[in-house]
Symmetry: C2
Subunit: 442 residues, 2 copies
């Protein structure tokens, strides 16, 4: 039995960037079996038909950098200086609250929000990543999931050595899973020593898994690395043998031309987080320059403590507008390029472009149906413009991941929304109490 | 019979910025009769009760600068240079399509989107403004509506003299209406001669109506005025006698310190349009400096041809983030100040703060109910953070304007949504055909 998504405008994001009006996508098991005009294709297949007339049929959105469990800390302390925010709020809240159970429920909450907004793949960096993988699998979501390693005591491991050991077991457990790609997550240059960075790079190479890392996010971070190592953050990672075609670096804000060339030459994927970068005043990623150099640039929400949405429609809008205003050029990063960042380029940035990122025969069936029968979506002169500048996450009606419907007509099929929201409110009380107890708030 | 909105968290935006949990707002006729704790108030009133438990009860949002009818041109030509955009797309599309009927349907479409997103008052500048007023009244929306005057032939009048004559009849017809405030709309310094600006200022003073104008939007515009008049745009308007406490200026980007002091001294309201300013790469309004000088700064969507959303939730998010990133300070323009801009400060910017902008006894009952029972809205540590950084226009469930429900549980009560969307699609075909006929697109 095949499944046919029929009658919508298919935004393929294939190499020709075909838009197929009155199109049909045929799904067999977890993959796309055929794509084309409904009248050409439908006669050759039979099976359940999902009516997508009047809607856009779009590749599932790819959220290239997240900390899903931090959904439980959404808006805990906004509008503060980065240091204050981390040291006075986030670190105490994490130290007192983050357990395997917290990560389990926080990730579920994050995935609910992401799926509702049309995200089908996300990259995650957090603690207790095995729990993240279990929950992701249970939601039938696709994830590149990195156990995060820092030199200071983390919520799940007192030492980086213990975290690295856990990482190896985590990789062995999940490698080969059709939905979960286990990954190594050295937090950043400024939180992990050179010896540990080298050990993690070595382990990742040995197991052929991706590395996710924060790179050149804050200006001061970059200045410190230049002062300590007499080189740029990107060049430092290259020197110690970490950069390569399985690395995905989040932020990449403070990059000079030589760094951009280096990232391109090494095949590193870079991920832009416009909301987080603006809200924390981190700086502006040179998206246009990175893309011009051939770097795959994805798009992401970052964690809910710094964004506070996990909504790729907001990120698409912001990505376009932020490049335009900072370059003072309205032609910078046009709408279609932003949709690329959220789909096929996001897949390239995560080194998964052979499997996801476009609606093409043979690829994984990660597909969303976006409704357009609403005042804010009418008229529609250009599909890409509409996706970036007019449509909203609330227009996503149905979501398929790996051939399986996970949301249909806005009904969640793999996650229990009421139970998760109830748990989230319990955690809100616990986190608030813990901040009062440690006199962070009164 | 009173109407009670009961059980929600009332975000009053009153001078004490009271948040009332389990609050009640009592509405009698078109005004707010009482606000307080449900248990204190409910026993003293009887009437229909609207259950707002679990929701936020917020002053209706104020969209300080729009061109509602341009909804029909949403996304007609994005990512172009301003001149190209205007001369190759917008002006031909307007010249060939904008009629009284176009304005009627375009405004209806714009109001649908605005009401769905919790906007209860908007300021408009367009042509055939009498049709805009009729449609606004029919939707039971509140509007400060300005007939726009330019020196070149406009869709409704061949000459500015004819437009000024029309403006005077328009004012006489609508002045005193409980929902409609007629206003004068000289388009800008660079499109209206000094003689006509003086005539319009004189007419507005004579009739005691507001003036809406675009001010210091584009850098080149400001440079030209400095070159021609040896003064800044704001100082030029002051010299010719236009600035005063009934003026609302949109954009106000290229303002120096002396201009900011002048705008404050004259009691001019300024309106920020972050989406439009970023997308057209116009520049960044000095919001923090204007507010520090005591200027009332409102928030707005601008027209759908340049935004393309008429969604104040997007504008709130962008306003906060744009100030933070351009000042490189995450403390700049915190969430509560942004909510002020969308409510009470927006009312001040339109010189309507005695009537609207907060939930206080005696004010007009312009109130929205925003649901929070959703993954992206959970947990909620801070109401203002949530409104700016997490909630969305699609969370607005009900909208009351002047004591009358215009949307209840997402059902539109004053506008026929299906009919309007059908008409909007007809106009899309007509506009596209006209652009093909005039060889703008092929």
């Amino acid at each position: 039995m095949d499944l046919l998504i029929a009658g919508g405008t298919v935004v393929t994001m294939d190499p020709q960037r075909r838009l197929i009006e009155d199109g049909t996508v045929v799904v067999r098991d977890d993959r796309i079996a055929s794509v084309g005009k409904r009248t050409d294709i439908a006669p050759h297949f039979s099976g359940k038909t999902i009516d997508a007339r009047g809607a856009l049929v779009v590749p599932g959105l790819i959220n290239g950098h997240a900390h899903a469990a931090m959904s439980l800390l959404r808006g805990i302390a906004d509008d503060h200086l980065l240091n204050d925010w981390l040291e006075r709020y986030i670190f105490p809240a994490e130290a007192n609250n983050v357990s395997e159970e917290f990560v389990t429920w926080g990730t579920r909450l994050g995935l609910l929000e992401m799926i509702r907004g049309g995200i089908t793949t996300y990259a995650d960096m957090y603690y207790f990543e095995d729990a993240v993988a279990r929950v992701t699998k249970e939601a039938h979501m696709r994830g590149v999931l990195a156990e995060t390693i820092v030199d200071f005591p983390a919520p799940d491991h007192r030492t980086p050595a213990a975290a690295i050991e856990y990482l190896e077991r985590f990789i062995e457990k999940w490698q080969g899973d059709p939905l979960i790609t286990p990954a190594a997550g050295p937090h950043s240059i400024y939180t992990v020593s050179e010896a540990h960075l080298r050990a993690i790079a070595d382990l990742a190479r040995r197991h052929d898994v991706p590395i996710l890392i924060h790179l050149a996010e804050a200006k001061l971070e970059s200045e410190n690395i230049r002062a300590t190592h007499a080189t740029s953050p990107a060049a430092y990672l290259h020197q110690i043998g970490m950069l390569g075609p399985k690395v995905t670096a989040a932020h990449c804000i403070w990059e000079e031309n030589a760094d951009i060339a280096l990232l391109a030459a090494c095949g590193v994927g870079c991920v832009h987080n416009p909301s987080s970068n603006m809200k924390l005043a981190s700086g502006v990623m040179p998206v246009v320059d990175l893309r011009a150099a051939g770097v795959a640039v994805g798009l992401a929400t970052d964690g809910a403590a710094s964004n506070n949405r996990q909504d790729m429609f907001y990120e698409m809008d912001l990505a376009a507008k932020l490049q335009k205003i900072t370059r003072m050029d309205p032609r910078a990063l046009p709408a279609m390029e932003v949709v690329e960042m959220a789909t096929i380029e996001g897949a390239r940035a995560l080194h998964l472009a052979k499997e996801i990122g476009s609606i093409e025969e043979g690829k994984q069936a990660d597909i969303i149906i976006v409704e357009t029968n609403a005042p804010h979506a009418t008229p529609m002169y250009n599909v890409y413009s509409q996706l970036v500048y007019a449509l909203k996450s609330s227009d996503v009606a149905s979501v398929m991941i790996g051939g399986k419907m996970v949301m249909e007509d806005r009904k969640m099929l793999t996650l229990d929304e009421n139970e998760i929201l109830t748990k989230a409110r319990e955690y809100q009380r616990r986190v608030t109490d813990s901040l009062i107890a440690s006199r962070v708030v009164s």
